[in-house]
Structures are given as structure tokens and as C-alpha cells.
Amino acid sequence: MTDFIKVENLVFDYIKSEDESTFRAIDDVSFTVEKGSFTAIIGQNGSGKSTLAKNINGLLVPTAGKIYVDGLDSADPENIWEVRQRVAMVFQNPDNQIVSSVVEDDVAFGPENLGVDPKEIRKRVDEALKSVEMYEFRRKAPHLLSGGQKQRIAIAGAVAMEPECIVFDEPTAMLDPRGRREVMNVIHRLNEKGITALLITHFMEEAAQADKVIVLDQGEVKMIGTPLEIFRRAEELKALSLGVPPAVDLADRLRQRGIEVPQDLLEVEDIVRYLCQLK
């Protein structure tokens, strides 16, 4: 597999407008994201995960270090629109990213800005709405939809730009469990269709569904690995104010009771199956 995003020694400082003092949000971060993969980034509030996301598609410009998107330097103003087209973004608050009062017009916003041919936009909008299962809502007003539905509209807006990668910046944080399930299903489906997914989240069970997990703390990468490799380090995660998925939590407690449980059980179904054959 080829690397689609390459982050090399990224540093990002916020500058306070009052006294020009700086605050380092990202400190020497390096990692790669493979084309077509599903990567999760976890970390507590203020760990720098949102800042990292905004650096990737050029909404923020790195203080030092480089980010390459499909070989393009994201800091080069020449590349900025190209980069944003290839790496679309979905934000946390479903209300604050929908521009238009009609669903389909909102989805068309990105391609319109890119100057896509009107007939082609129509086609893309319909396809994007179908891919998030919101086609029948295309003429509705967004403010009448549920949080999960609004978030799916925002995802359709990203999909209509035909990006190769979508960065999801805590897309489920403000949703109820039903909305969260809807959004996670959509993310999985898009990933299966070949879109590279980068999911920033603080729900461990969501991170457990990714191919690769990056743990961020105070602007630094603390761990990188498969969910199996990450979640077996429960103690370290707790020290970073993070948790583990329920199955891992149970496995841990069983081990404390002297019951041997393998390390590779991440989902509830896995541990249930294992325990049943123990009996």
C-alpha cells in the first residue's frame, strides 16, 4: 500500500493575539496514513488532535515540519485547493457546518466552489446523498433534521467533492447513541468504497474499529499501532485519561481474577465466543 498522507516532524504553535505568546499544540509529530486505510486518532481534550486535523488539509499552516498529501506539500499556497479537494473534512458540530437552508444545495456547495460542471454536480449530489442514505431528504431544511441526519448531510457534502480522504473531527461527540451508530456505519461504508478515513474520536469502541490507532497526548504521539496493540496497554491509556473498549475492560478484570484471556479480543462478540468455549 502507498502512503497517502505523510506527516513529518510536524510542529504547530498557536499565537495568542494579546501578548504574542505562543502555545505549542503539536510537538514533533510524525506518522503516515496509507491509501484506503481507516485510522483513528485518540487523545483527551487539548491533546492537539483537532489542531492536527486542521493542519492536514491546510486550514492551519505548520509552524515547522511538513505534511504531504498525495505528494503535495500542504503548506504550499499553490496546492491549497488541490489539497482541500483531496482531503475533505467533517467537523464536530453538525449545525455549524451546513451552509444552506436546503439539504441538496448544501451538498452542492463544495463542487460549486470547485467550478464543477452543473450537470456533473447534480450527479455527484444525488450519489453523495444516496451513499449516506439521505437522498429522500434532499429538499428538506437541515434545521428540521436530527443530529445524526445533519451529520450525514455534512458527510455527503464532503463526499460530493470526490475526495480521496475524509478527516472526521469528532463527528459523533454531540450525537445520541442512535446518531452515533448512523454516522459510524456511513464512515465504514465509505471506507469500504476506498475512501481513506481519518477519525478523531474520544470513544474507544469507535477507535477499536479502525485499522490503526494513533494516541496523542499534549501534542505528542504516545502510541501508534493496531487497535490490538494499543488496547492491550490499558494501564498506559488510563494514565493518559483515556479508557478501553468494554471487551478489553472485562478481559482485564478477568485476568485479575486469575482467568486467562487472550489479548486479541476487542469486540464484545469475540470475548463472548471465547468464554463460551472455555466453559
Binding site: F91, D95, S100, D105, G115, A141
Partner: protein, 266 residues
């Protein structure tokens, strides 16, 4: 209460009126407003009202919905009515103390009230039957000849789209903040004007902060979706004048001719 405001809202539909080109609708609405100020007698108003009624019928927007939008403006209408009724001098019909109502005053008051009602219904019909985004597209197109004088037509249109989009969001936000402060014992209903104005601070401060937060998020989201890129923007639903629009123009021209003839001849 907040949910009753229909002014400036869009009523989704697919009627003949809904499908007209927004440029045509904007021009027609403007001319219609001029025409109700041309009219000077009851027959003229009857004609203007009839025209409006036909449009409402074709648009299939429920009358109840349209009338609900008049409610918040009722005070304005009543105020105009009373001012006109008492201020215009002429043949006195009734008088008491220092006030008197004249025939001319009453006539004028009724006319002004009808004018206002027609004006409000007429213009709200434009927003009710035109998607906000088409409306702004139409405005942008009509304003674009002024671009050469430095008028940022596209940005103005975008600002309007966003304003329309966020009216319901901010209303909801206001409702939430109000309730939250009421739960903390805030009282918006008693006391004199000064006290009441002061009581608004706990609502206004969080509301402004909210608006700024929304603005920040939205600006970021728009940039992420390539707003401001150099490529020439396109529109999914490009505007094209078709036979239906020409028909609408002709029908409206006939209506205008009738209004003008009525004014001259009767």
C-alpha cells in the same frame, strides 16, 4: 411563540410559482409593490388582491401559514391605521375631546392598512416560494451589472444565504438560553423598561458568544469546502429563462396594464 415567525421562511413545494426563475420573481415582486402604491381606489385594491390570491392559490402555500406571518406585524399595521385615521383632516365623521376622525382619514387609514398587508403578503410570497439559495442567486444575478462599480455581489449573496440559514438555529439557541436563565430565576416579564433591558444581558451575552462560535466554525467549514478558491464558481441549478418564465412575465404585464388602466380610466 418563536416558532410562529414565518416572515422570510421558505415553504417547500414544487408548484408552478416555486419553479419560476428567481430573477423573474424578484422583479415581479418589486413591480407589484410599486403597483400597490399606484393604486388609489377600492377597485384597484380589489384587482391587486385578486392577483395575489390567484398567485397564492397556484403556489399551494396554505393561507393559514401566510396569515400566521402577519401576526408579528399586526401592531405595525394597527399603528399605521390609527395614525392615518386621526392625522388626516377633512370632513369630520366622529369627534371626541381633541381627536376627530374624518372621512378622508378613515379612507386613507384603510388604504394604508390594505397596502401594508398586500405588501407583506406579496413579499413573503417571494420568500415562501423561492429557496433561499435561489433567492440569493437571483439577487446576485440582478446585482451583477453593478459589479463593475465595485459591488461585491457574490459575497453579499453568500452573506444573505448564511443569514437565512442560521435564523432558525439562532432562534433555537435564544430559546435554550432564555429557558436556562429562567431556570436560574431570571425574570424577563416584570419591572420597568430599564429593569427589563438589564434582564436581557444574561441572554444577550451568551447569544453573542454563541454567534461568534458558530461564525468561527462555519468559516472553517466553508474554507475546508474550498470557499474562496480561484476557480470560477458554478451552480448546480443554473438559472435559465424558459417558456414558463416568459408566460409569467406576460401575465404580470397584463396585470400591470390593468392596474394602470384602472388608475387612468376610473
Amino acid at each position: 411563540m418563536i416558532r410562529d415567525i414565518t416572515l422570510g421562511q421558505f415553504y417547500p413545494g414544487n408548484s408552478w410559482i416555486h419553479r419560476l426563475d428567481p430573477r423573474v420573481k424578484i422583479m415581479v415582486t418589486l413591480l407589484y409593490i410599486v403597483s400597490i402604491f399606484v393604486v388609489k381606489d377600492f377597485i384597484g385594491f380589489a384587482l391587486a388582491a385578486l392577483g395575489l390570491a390567484v398567485v397564492i392559490a397556484i403556489s399551494r402555500v396554505p393561507l393559514k401559514f401566510i396569515l400566521r406571518g402577519l401576526k408579528p406585524i399586526f401592531i405595525l399595521i394597527a399603528f399605521t391605521f390609527i395614525i392615518n385615521m386621526f392625522m388626516i383632516k377633512g370632513e369630520v365623521l366622529v369627534s371626541f375631546w381633541i381627536f376627530s376622525i374624518s372621512r378622508e382619514g378613515l379612507r386613507m387609514a384603510v388604504f394604508m392598512a390594505i397596502r401594508l398587508i398586500l405588501l407583506i403578503i406579496g413579499s413573503s410570497l417571494l420568500t415562501l416560494t423561492t429557496k433561499p439559495i435561489s433567492l440569493t442567486d437571483g439577487m446576485e444575478a440582478l446585482l451583477s451589472p453593478f459589479k463593475r462599480f465595485g459591488l461585491p455581489a457574490h459575497d453579499l449573496a453568500m452573506m444573505m444565504t448564511i443569514a437565512l440559514r442560521f435564523i432558525p438555529t439562532l432562534l433555537e439557541e435564544t430559546d435554550k438560553i432564555m429557558k436556562a436563565q429562567m431556570a436560574r430565576g431570571a425574570d424577563f416579564e416584570s419591572g420597568n423598561i430599564l429593569r427589563r433591558a438589564k434582564a436581557l444581558i444574561p441572554i444577550l451575552v451568551p447569544l453573542f458568544i454563541s454567534a461568534f462560535r458558530i461564525a468561527q466554525d462555519l468559516a472553517m467549514a466553508m474554507e475546508a469546502r474550498c470557499y474562496g478558491s480561484n476557480s470560477k464558481k458554478t451552480r448546480m441549478n443554473g438559472m435559465k429563462i424558459c417558456s414558463r418564465d416568459i408566460a409569467a412575465c406576460l401575465i404580470f404585464a397584463a396585470f400591470l396594464a390593468m392596474i394602470i388602466l384602472e388608475r387612468i380610466l376610473l
